[in-house]
Amino acid sequence: MTTTLTPQDTTDEKPKRIRRPRSARAGGQMHAGPIAYIILALFTIGSLFPLVWTAIAASRDTQRLAQTPPPFWFGSNLFDNLEIAWNDANLGEAFINTTFVAGVSAATIVFLSTIAGFAFAKLRFKGRGAMMLIVIGTMMVPPQLSVIPLYMMVAELGWTDQLKAVIFPSLVSAFGVFFMRQYLIQALPDEIIEAARVDGASSWRVVWHVVFPAARPAMAVLGMLMFVQTWNDFLWPFLVLTQTGSPTVQVAVAGLGRGFTPDQSLIMAGALLGTLPLLLVFAIFGKQIVGGIMQGAVKG
């Protein structure tokens, strides 16, 4: 089952809907009935409700959250709570740290995955099949199992509490290699590479002038996926970054919940602040991210 989806198929949903009936699609001849819309609406509400309620709780004070019935609408404390949470959890620094970690990590993964994915998709070399098997096997082994030696390594190198302790282990992304390989197999015609070769281009020139331009849409999607993943990563930053040092947003937000009598509205304000940047990214690039996930899903 190799993928037949092209980027246009999944990302440009609207024009397609207008231009032609979806006769080429499974189930495409069936119009959705009202029940389908009701189920979808319920599901959408279920997806959004905890997020909206986070904002509602963040706009109240902690006494109001210890009353029945729970609040259903916004109070007046939102900006006060956001400010206090921002200062208490040192979120300004945490935002800078996390943006740096996620940005460096995503950019490096995208670059390394693209050249490795290109080699696996289009170049012939001894051991290619075996190496690809290792990549796929790596995807199935969760990195969490390696935290103990990694922790010892980081302690040995004196990296504890430093951002590079978070960045380096996050760079191993077998998914990225697999994702770029799947994309390049179909998006990069062999003839273009041949043509560049005939012109005397070296492999690095081919990568630079042919592969990168062709891979750009997939690189953007992979970059966003990796940014989200690194931004939300919890266990490893939690282990190597103490909350007094330079935490990431997730560690800082989780730290708000500690303390003797935790202020629930402040915790919610912190949770909201930690989530907002990604929700913003999703609001802008949601369509592309959806397309990317669906594209990465159909595997051979």
Binding site: S23, F120, L150, Y151, E156, F168, G200, W204, R258
Partner: protein, 337 residues
């Protein structure tokens, strides 16, 4: 590996203008030598650059993936304390026998299994249903897809913290709603099954939409004529779903089952942050302590890194068994179809 990288690189830097085509007025002798040099370089490039391209990934994988994994196995055979991580004393299989004798290990293993089932099964079933609906001709289909992915954008920390409040015993929204239909307050923190359900619901909430998109992608790849011939044979929509959609989705279903199983076996942040006391024991009675949490408790709270390594390797071996079962099942399925 880095030296290979260097040998492959020069043609790019030096041969700025098409190295394969020397100027026509070049001196023949020099030209010949130059050609020979270029073709040697060309062969080197063709031969080694693929390795240069994949080597950064494999170097990182060796350093931060494979080596730590193997070293975990090595450390699991030693007594290692957090206070002196380099001070290792051979212990044979004692770490393994110690954890297998620990009731809390078996408790954590059982909890991981039950939470895994409670979170994975409804999640994948709902994802399948939603994907089926999204596969209809819909108005605003992109809107629904993006909305469905909002929980995926929410971090474990943020999601767990809000679910703690929603599942509050006295003032939580969920108990309030249950009261409204005549059900008494449920103690989502301390009751065993209720707490496991609550922890699972965080997982379900975050991943259902994501899995729905994966199923949807696979459904869209099913050729339309399969449905047409099924319809000609008189199959209604439900029969088409059972006899056309589901069989075509088999590999994808297997894939999501494996990925969800791996995710469920690693559950850590959700039970850690769901605990109102923010302890590592997974509730006062260890009622929702998972293996991931138990590993953390042994390694970072009790400071027994050797024992924690033994837990990690036990989890790894369980995953290998799951992988083998998956492989056997997928071969059977392929053989039968």
């Amino acid at each position: 590996m880095t030296t290979r990288h260097d040998t492959a690189a020069p043609p790019d830097k030096e041969g700025g203008a098409a190295p394969g085509r020397p100027p026509a007025d070049a001196v023949p002798e020099v030209d010949k030598r130059r050609r020979a040099r270029l073709s040697r370089r060309w062969q080197r490039d063709m031969r080694w650059s693929p390795y240069a391209f994949v080597s950064p990934f494999f170097l990182l994988f060796l350093a931060f993936g494979l080596f730590p994994l193997i070293y975990t196995g090595w450390a699991s055979l030693h007594t290692v304390e957090m206070t002196a991580p380099t001070d290792m004393e051979w212990a044979g299989l004692r770490n393994y026998t110690r954890i297998f004798e620990d009731d809390f290990f078996w408790n954590a293993a059982k909890n991981t299994l039950t939470i895994g089932i409670i979170s994975t099964v409804p999640q994948l079933l709902m994802a399948m249903g939603i994907a089926h609906i999204l596969n209809y001709k819909l108005r605003g289909s992109t809107f629904y897809r993006v909305m469905m992915l909002a929980p995926y954008a929410t971090s474990i920390a943020a999601a767990s913290l809000v679910f703690v409040l929603l599942f509050g015993r006295d003032y939580g929204m969920i108990n309030w709603a249950l009261n409204a239909v005549g059900i008494d307050n449920i103690d989502w923190q301390n009751d065993k099954w209720a707490s496991q359900f609550a922890v699972s619901s965080i997982v379900i909430w975050r991943w259902t939409g994501y899995n729905a998109l994966i199923y949807l992608a696979a459904m869209q790849a099913i050729p339309q004529d399969l449905y047409e011939s099924a319809a000609l044979d008189g199959a209604n929509r439900w029969q088409q779903f059972i006899h056309v959609t589901l069989p075509s989705l088999r590999p994808t279903i297997l894939f999501t089952v494996v990925v969800s199983t791996i995710g469920a076996s690693q559950l850590f942040g959700e039970p850690l942050l769901f605990d109102a006391n923010k302890g590592t024991s997974g509730g006062s009675q260890h009622q929702f302590q998972t293996l991931g949490l138990y590993l953390y408790e042994q390694g970072w709270v009790n400071q027994h890194l050797g024992r924690a390594s033994a837990i990690a390797w036990t989890m790894f071996l369980i995953l290998i068994v799951v992988g083998i079962i998956n492989y056997v099942i997928s071969r059977r399925l392929r053989a039968s179809s």
